[in-house]
Symmetry: C2
Subunit: 205 residues, 2 copies
DNA sequence: GTCTATACCTCGATAGAC
DNA sequence: GTCTATCGAGGTATAGAC
């Protein structure tokens, strides 16, 4: 991943091979599987093979771990999404790139589905930390809104741009509850069904 | 509410004026506001003005409270939905009734938005209790699928029936994160936008 | 950077009086 | 049906040696 290495060198993302990076990876997995509240610092420490007290050399608190998981994931997702959009041609394909990318962040195998942590554990953050994370989220969301605006100007959008984004965000964020990566419906099929729902009544094939 | 009184008399739902009913109401509110894990039995007891030890005269465990909140909510929602569908005429209006009802369960003022507890706290249940609740959920979902099937047979449905239900479920369950009941967009507006997304390309006005 | 040891707290749940 | 009192478990976080 070219983007990942660039972000690591810019200091925006922790090197996954560092002790801190390994902790973040394992914490993200555990938060996704069991939820933040039910994951203990002992669990996280055990997953990387250290004692629980050693964690606090790398993070100031358990919430600090969740904050880091979320902010680094958002920074990474934003770059991946930006790249995917730039590689697509035309508003219809750029919007499809948004849908496909977010589905991959949410249920795909590569990113180990960390988007679901951002969604499910939002409430576990204090309001101060929420404000902190929202800065990154706004950048991500703007990429979506730009793509939707282009779609609208091309006459391909059926509903209101902002409402559409929110309805689609919900539809995508809910997929972990039912979608099976190895099922009959492929991720690409699902992306097409979703695109069709947004651009309804317009011929998008 | 005629349905509520009938369900109470059938013993399917706890009388809200009983001590147990008051506990369930307050627990549901707290679970919605703070989440199940962050709500303590002391919080719930305090909300109805008793001591925490007294709760265990009415419930065998904290999970038993969540189970009861969820199953009674589902039983109630199912009857409300069934009634709303039966009062609507034609597939388009019956589907709109489904959307409107579920939006009300999720963000409406009357039901105090308990649907969001069913969604957010699912993972906090043991798998045994999940199986228990799924029985009620299946009945609720079948009402949706029947309505969608009628819509499909009327040639009004754009995508696959099952995928559509899941995408729409996500869209609706996500609304608590952004929808403001006192905002410019009314719940009825939102229901119409959602219906339009499902029946895309078909003239549904 | 990790260890051991532990302080300190809060939680769910119980027991028995009233 | 509620109270008081409390138990035991398990949580986050700290301190200081190595």
């Amino acid at each position: 991943m070219g983007q990942l290495n660039a972000l690591i060198q810019q200091g925006q993302i922790t090197d996954p091979d560092s002790p801190r990076g390994r902790l973040l990876d394992q914490a993200a997995q555990l938060f996704r599987q069991k939820g933040y509240e039910r994951t203990t610092v002992r669990d996280i420490a055990g997953a990387v093979g250290i004692q629980s007290g050693s964690i606090f050399h790398h993070f100031s608190s358990k919430e600090d771990i969740l904050r880091s998981v979320m902010s680094e994931a958002l920074i990474y997702f934003t770059e991946i999404l930006r790249d995917a959009i730039s590689r697509a041609e035309g508003p219809r394909d750029k919007l499809l790139a948004c849908i496909r990318s977010e589905l991959q962040f949410t249920i795909g195998p590569d990113t180990t589905a960390i988007m679901s942590v951002l969604i499910s554990e939002w409430r576990s953050l204090s309001s101060e930390v929420q404000q902190d994370i929202l800065q990154y989220r706004d950048v991500y969301e703007q990429l979506w809104l730009d793509a939707l605006q282009d779609t609208e100007e091309a006459g391909l959008l059926a509903g209101d741009m902002f409402v559409t984004r929110r309805l689609i965000a919900g539809a995508i964020h809910w997929t972990p509850y039912w979608f099976q990566l190895d099922g009959e419906l492929s991720l690409e099929d699902l992306a097409m069904e979703t695109l069709q729902m947004i651009c309804c009544g317009k011929d998008i094939r």
